[in-house]
């Protein structure tokens, strides 16, 4: 077999191994381990799926099935910043459609696409649980709420 360069860092690997021991069934650590893998590799490629399968002792079919089921696992490389704009009901009532239009114009990409400089990936997502301070957008792990076009401009300008 050909050696693969898809390998978790030693700390991440230790983290993954200790997770498997915490659950009644090691397979239950699959979702958290995939979060770790995504943190390390940026997205879950077929190579990463195979690596995680080997690490956990699960079949690649099972791992692939899980990766494809959950929206937070990124199946392809994306930008440095993942702009996840909520377009569910409360955010739409608060003007999310206009903000989406603004983002599309400003970045020159459609939802699902990444800017040519590799900086931003634009996504629309379902309710983020921030409806009381709509419209809301999650950028990587962080929530940004009560957004306006101006606030978005300032935010994006501040990201390097």
């Amino acid at each position: 077999m050909e050696a693969t360069k898809t390998v978790l860092s030693p700390e991440a690997r230790r983290e993954a191994e200790s997770l498997m021991k915490k659950y009644p069934d090691p397979g239950a650590a699959l979702l958290p381990i995939l979060h770790i893998a995504q943190r390390e590799f940026g997205h879950i490629s077929t190579d990463v799926e195979e690596y995680v399968a080997a690490l956990t002792g699960l079949s690649t079919t099972r791992v692939h099935g899980v990766v494809s089921f959950y929206t937070m696992y990124r199946k392809a490389p994306g930008g440095k910043y993942l702009l996840q704009l909520c377009t569910n009901v409360s955010c739409t009532l608060a003007g999310a459609e206009d903000l989406l239009g603004h983002l599309i114009r400003r970045l020159g990409v459609s939802p699902g696409e990444t800017t040519p400089d590799g900086k931003f990936t634009l996504l629309t997502v379902e309710c983020l649980g921030a409806c009381g301070s709509a419209p809301a957008m999650q950028i990587n792990d962080d929530y940004h709420e009560e957004l306006t076009a101006e606030k978005i401009d300032r935010l994006l300008d501040s990201l390097v």
């Binding site: 915490k22 659950y23 009644p24 069934d25 397979g27 239950a28 650590a29 699959l30 979702l31 958290p32 995939l34 979060h35 699960l58 099972r62 099935g65 899980v66 089921f69 959950y70 929206t71 937070m72 696992y73 377009t87 569910n88 009901v89 409360s90 739409t92 009532l93 608060a94 997502v125 379902e126 309710c127 983020l128 649980g129 921030a130 409806c131 009381g132 301070s133 709509a134 999650q138 792990d141 962080d142 929530y143």
Partner: protein, 422 residues
């Protein structure tokens, strides 16, 4: 009337998310009382007496649910705290996790003592990175303080709590979808029976409870089930964290007893309807609950009164709509959500929802046909009650509500409707 802050009483206390402040404020006293003074059966009895109903969606009595779990079990029993908070409009469980995480942990400890559980999972939606981290910090503190781990309160009782993050899938909020997901699988709901109380996570008897439900437990044990049962209307006891969003001047989370009317909630607490328009309708219990119209605004926001009004209390998420809202467009947005989140396991949901989306999209594109409204209603009927899990109902019910309460707006989009109005 001011809010009745029981759950949220200490949300604004500085440092409250840390264990020291929590203990100084009387924290972990209820758990100690449960271990020292009550048998597990007595704890369940208190919770039954309190009348506490699940805050996650179905309003099922918590004490009764706990009593379904067999005392003796060959396989370990589990508690799954449902912190998936995916029902559109809902944003209250995250406040508990961020602002008073030890309150939740204490509720978990008491529940596990009552049911005889030694491992609890908190399934936090994947997007809630900060919430999961806050909870994990609190869990670490609770271990260090001797409130989790072995020999709790000098009893031969061990309890582990694991904070587990999901990865973005609304269906994992459904209790059996959650269990599948927790096991590291796709979140496809299981056919019931068997119910999780008998066969749940890792095949063991399992209780799934919402964050807010469990956060109510410490005060019930501290002050007694009867005390709790006297709060709010009969059979709808305690307070609720109403998460209000949409067209109101002061959106947010309000803790109130369930005899509050929608009118009071919207006008007295939330500062009235925002924007140019007047109240058109409101969605009383998350996007799965059928909307009620402005004429129904005097309804009491209790599980039972909302049920009687043809809707439901659901997750306590109230979405307010002013009269600028285009109902067919809103219905389409809601339908697309459920279409996107359907796990695809059963035919009525997998095929019915895209069909509804297709018809309504066509109508909104100006290509509606006479009979489309009735066709949509028929499709809703072919989904309702005929699916594997309640997501099918959760999509069909609000759609039917929009179609029936605002039929005219949909009819206008069909050729028949146009001909009539022309």
């Amino acid at each position: 009337m001011p809010e009745l802050k029981l759950i949220s009483a200490n949300f604004d206390v500085p440092g409250r998310s840390g264990i020291e402040v929590y203990i100084r404020g009387g924290g972990y006293r209820a758990a100690r009382r449960a271990f020292d003074a009550l048998t597990p059966e007595q704890v369940i009895e208190e919770v039954k007496k309190s009348g506490l109903r699940g805050r996650g969606g179905a309003g099922f009595p918590a004490g009764l649910k706990w009593s379904f779990v067999p005392r003796e079990s060959a396989l370990p029993k589990y508690l799954c705290c449902n912190a998936d908070e995916g029902e559109p409009g809902t944003f209250k469980d995250r406040l508990i996790m961020l602002k008073d995480p030890h309150l939740l942990i204490e509720g978990i400890i008491i529940a596990c003592y009552a049911i005889g559980i030694h491992t609890a999972f908190v399934y936090v939606r994947g997007e809630y990175v900060a919430e999961a981290a806050a909870l994990q910090r609190a869990v670490d503190e609770a271990y260090a303080g001797g409130f989790l781990g072995a020999n709790l309160f000098n009893k031969d009782f061990a309890l582990d709590v694991l904070v587990h993050r999901g990865a973005g899938a609304y269906i994992c909020g459904e209790e059996t979808g959650l269990i599948e997901s927790l096991e590291g699988k796709r979140g496809n709901p299981r056919l019931k029976p068997p119910f999780p109380a008998l066969v749940g996570a890792f095949q063991g008897p399992t209780v799934v409870n919402n964050v807010e439900t469990l956060a109510n437990v410490p005060m019930i044990i501290e002050k007694g089930g009867e005390w709790y049962a006297a709060i709010g209307p009969e059979k709808n006891t305690g307070t609720r964290l109403f998460a209000v969003s949409g067209h109101v001047n002061k959106p947010g989370v309000y803790e109130l007893t369930m005899d509050v009317t929608a009118r009071e909630l919207i006008y007295d607490y939330c500062g009235g309807v925002s924007g140019a328009g007047k109240l058109k309708a409101f969605i009383p219990g998350g996007s799965s609950s059928p909307c009620l119209t402005a004429d129904e605004v005097d309804v009491q926001m209790s599980f039972d009164a909302l049920m009687k009004a043809g809707s439901m209390g659901g997750s306590g998420a109230v979405i307010v709509l002013n009269d600028t809202v285009d109902i067919p467009k809103l219905a389409l947005r809601t339908l697309k959500f459920y279409e996107h989140e359907s796990c695809g396991q059963c035919t009525p949901c997998r095929e019915g929802l895209p069909w509804l989306v297709k018809i309504l999209t066509r109508m909104l594109d100006g290509r509606g046909a006479p009979g489309d409204v009735d066709l949509m209603l028929e499709i809703c009927d072919s989904i309702f009650g005929k699916t594997f899990c309640p997501l099918g109902d959760a999509a069909a019910m609000p759609t039917r509500g929009f179609l029936m309460k605002f039929r005219g707006e949909f009819e206008e989009l069909t050729a028949g409707g146009k001909a009539e109005t022309a």
